[in-house]
């Protein structure tokens, strides 16, 4: 006696709801082992690879200290010792953010980090840098002191000279403060999140030495896995290097 089994589906039927389709697309683009990997390629064990995460660490301090400054207000950050402290933490975190971001940019430029289908990774990083500049400028003109007034009047001339003075009034504290504490930080954090997710999807760009077809096809000594593939995709992964 035999039983009739339903036929095995040859292709996955699309989900009827948009939430299901979004979930499937997200998992396909970023499966959990790519989103949260437990290892990184061995070439990541280099100091030049730490400046991306150093930028993110500085950004976390910027957002945290900036949130406290926004909650307490200008009188607090000018007239109290603790306010001065958080004001300084915010400023120096910004300095470190740009410092680490510039070194990160140089490192990625000289290793041509757009290789292997990583164009969007490069573009989101470059746009993040460009958006971070006005984010810092709006902060400098929102200090509520003579320094802010001086910078605002200088920036006014600069913006007028390039024809965008009608859209950005750097002498208007309310407008600049709104840009600084909401609109531009939202853009920076969103771009950084997209940048990191794209890095997770495509992997960290390998050095040129590991990207050459001749080296990629040469069998490694000792019977290990080949060091790389020629299209810029990362070589085999070895446990022990945290991202």
């Amino acid at each position: 006696m035999s039983t009739v089994q339903p036929p095995e589906p040859t292709a996955q039927t699309p989900k009827p709801t948009w939430t299901g389709r979004v979930r499937e697309a997200a998992v396909e683009a970023l499966p959990p082992e790519k989103l949260l990997p437990d290892s990184q390629p061995t070439y990541v064990a280099s100091w030049i690879y730490i400046f991306g995460v150093a930028s993110i660490a500085a950004l976390i301090v910027i957002v945290g200290s900036g949130t406290i400054l926004a909650l307490k207000g200008p009188a607090w950050w000018h007239d109290t010792g603790v306010g001065h402290f958080f004001n300084s933490v915010h400023l120096w975190a910004v300095e470190l953010f740009f410092f680490a971001m510039v070194v990160h940019l140089w490192g990625k430029y000289w290793m041509a980090a757009w290789r292997g289908g990583r164009t969007r990774v490069w573009i989101t990083g470059a746009i993040t840098f460009l958006v971070a500049v006005p984010t810092a400028l709006t902060g400098y003109v929102s200090q509520q002191n003579f320094d802010a007034q001086w910078i605002a009047t200088q920036a006014k001339d600069g913006l007028n000279s390039v024809g965008v003075g009608a859209f950005f009034n750097v002498t208007n504290f309310g407008q600049m403060y709104s840009y600084h504490v909401f609109l531009l930080p939202l853009a920076v954090v969103g771009l950084v999140a997209a940048h990191v997710l794209l890095v997770r999807r495509h992997g960290v760009v390998p050095p040129f030495e590991l990207d050459r077809p001749a080296l990629a096809t040469r069998p490694p000594q000792g019977g290990g896995t080949p060091p790389a593939v020629p299209d810029g995709k990362p070589p085999s992964v070895t446990r022990g290097v945290a991202s």
């Binding site: 061995t42 100091w47 070194v103 490192g107 490694p220 000594q221 000792g222 019977g223």
Partner: protein, 70 residues
């Protein structure tokens, strides 16, 4: 009292009671403070390439021999 002594020492080391020192070259005008930061970025960039990362060589050997680098 102790705080004010520290401030006096710092003020002696970093005298900021003057207009910023500026380097001018044609249309380029940079403060010395910004030039120092830019020079530091070059130094850090060079060190990041030159200095070995802790444990990097052991991981490379482990990858080549197919062993676990843990």
């Amino acid at each position: 009292m102790e705080h004010s002594r520290v401030m006096i020492v710092l003020a002696a080391v970093f005298n900021l009671n003057h207009p910023a020192h500026v380097v001018e070259w044609h249309f380029i005008q940079l403060s010395v403070a910004n030039l120092i930061v830019i020079a530091l970025m070059f130094v850090v960039f060079a060190l990041a390439i030159a200095l070995p990362f802790p444990g990097a060589s052991a991981r490379t050997v482990a990858r080549r021999t197919g062993e676990d680098a843990k």
